[in-house]
Symmetry: C2
Subunit: 340 residues, 2 copies
């Protein structure tokens, strides 16, 4: 899922995302709550309409962003008080309020309000954090079920907004297990594994996913939050992960880092100054079909806005291409299995 | 002509320009000479290929930019010494060198090296400036004719690069006349009226165009440089001007100023915060078809890159739409005239 923090996948127009085959994008509740405000978005018919994205949307709970505001936040059992990074104004998110904001935004998928446990966290800290996440999951889901009908749209096909729970537990597999079991009992519409890609070594990320994934129902979406590099997302998808989101393809693009079939390419490097080849010779995206490495390097050197746009389009095409190939190969495997 | 200073019409991808019906864009010789360098562009087959724009291209002579570097330049009969705004390095443009650089860039249309007379300029100053411009026009054209075969492309249709002369003369109609007559004798491929839109009142701009235009051959392109607002370009086109360029539609767009059938609209204004109408209700551009004023305002407020892109697309569509309507109405008039 490309990340559209403020209601836009940075530097990429919506029709381009459609042409790339993006099926779902993510919006950040914290950012949209502060600007333009969830009530304004509700009045305008919800986020789909506001940003003109008539496809699937997911909003996070705001928790991750709020917890990133290290010095501006205060956590209690009730929720989190924090100051806006925009103007220092004081706000609070409780599980109920986070879900209320998400219902106003009206994405297709909302996330339970959780505490993203930092890394490293010792056992008592991870246990305490998990206690909050589980209590907040219950409160999020109760509020969601009582208020989901207030979503600012109605789907002619009768679909309605969903709510996913988030498994935390730091890097302790028994805490992860305990959390997964409790959330599954609550019967969410889907399950996410959160608190990963927060600075831990990659083997640990993999361990946590491998331990947690089998505890989550296969017939509901299983979502690993905030990952990852191209090889990681392929690996996790093959393990059974259905959804992932990451700012990496677009953020790296804006810094000139392109992901290609030949590995990572820093387009700023002087070696590309007169390289007339496409960014990725095996890529069929609109950028690789039309522009050279030399031109992309020039745009970057010249500080041109088109640089971020073209680099992002390529990286998103590369990421979406990986998922497309994985889906095709899983489909094939499942057909072969049926054939046996 | 949308302006693509550094080999890109800021924030707008080439395929979007094509979809908008842009037939020709402008590149700035000064900027491209400094970065990535005209020799690099020549080695890569010229500007069309480098920026992937297989349509018409025009390069200015670099004169206007160099003369804008007030404190960094020194003018002599031979040419101009200047310091790069990028790194302070020392360079010089003579008429021959400007044309040499333009031939290396290989646009379809190059411009003679001229001195853009500042406003206000008293008569002695305007005369002296004009003396330079006319001497440089001769030298530009001689160098161009002797070296045009070095352009880094060949057109299967046998077209070759053209060179336009630039009429200067400050705000003195007799000087304008004198310059126009001399340039026409030299037999350029087309003629520009320069040194306008440099701070003078609009009536003066109009006077200079009205006085100069009849002196330039109707069967060659007549180009007014650096104009203007939507009503100006329509007015000048109806007077017989064939070509105009201006950064206004794209620069204004990046600052949130949209040109619409209802007048100018500052998309940053609070009144648009929840305005779900299109930027321009009478516009059929991809931005007006898909996005609301509220969304464009949000992108601007949030400092999102997509803001510059979408605003620029609309403003370019608006400008190109004016020219399209003027062309259609002139076509009709000329058909009626034939009918009489």
């Amino acid at each position: 899922m490309p990340v559209g923090t403020q209601g836009t996948v940075k530097a990429v127009p919506q029709d381009t995302l459609e042409a790339l085959g993006a099926q779902i994008i993510l919006g950040n509740t914290y950012h949209l709550y502060l600007r333009p405000g969830h009530e304004a978005i509700r009045r305008m018919g919800g986020l789909h309409k506001f940003i003109s994205w008539p496809h699937a949307l997911l909003t996070d709970s705001g928790g991750f962003q709020v917890f990133s505001l290290n010095e501006l936040r205060k956590v209690s059992d009730d929720g989190v008080r924090f100051r806006s990074h925009l103007d220092g104004s004081s706000h609070s998110f409780t599980p109920e309020h986070s879900v209320e904001v998400q219902i106003a935004l009206g994405a297709d998928i909302s996330m339970a309000f959780d505490e993203c446990t930092e890394y490293p966290a010792d056992r008592p800290r991870a246990e305490e954090s998990l206690r909050l996440t589980m209590a907040w999951a219950r409160r999020s889901l109760d509020y969601f079920r009582a208020h989901r009908h207030l979503v600012p749209w109605s789907d002619p096909k009768g679909c309605c907004m969903q709510c996913f729970g988030i498994v935390q537990g730091g890097m302790y597999t028994d805490l992860r297990r305990q959390c997964a079991e409790r959330l599954v009992e609550m019967d969410f519409d889907g399950y996410a594994i959160g608190g990963l890609s927060v600075g831990e070594p990659r083997e640990l990320t993999l361990d946590m996913i491998a331990e947690t994934l089998p505890l989550l129902p296969k017939d509901k979406p299983r979502y690993v939050m905030g990952v990852g590099y191209p090889d990681e997302i392929e690996q996790y998808a093959r393990m059974g992960v259905d959804m992932m989101d990451c700012v990496l393809p677009t953020r790296a693009a804006r810094h000139g880092l392109l992901f290609t079939s030949e590995g990572r390419l820093n387009i700023k490097n002087k070696q590309y100054a007169e390289d007339q080849g496409p960014p990725d010779p095996l890529c069929d995206c609109p950028v690789c079909r039309r522009y050279s490495r030399a031109y992309l390097r020039h745009l970057m050197q010249a500080g041109e806005a088109l640089s971020g746009t073209l680099n992002s389009i390529h990286n998103l095409a590369f990421y979406l291409g990986i998922m497309k190939r994985v889906r095709a190969s899983l489909h094939e495997t499942s057909h072969s299995a049926t054939g046996n």
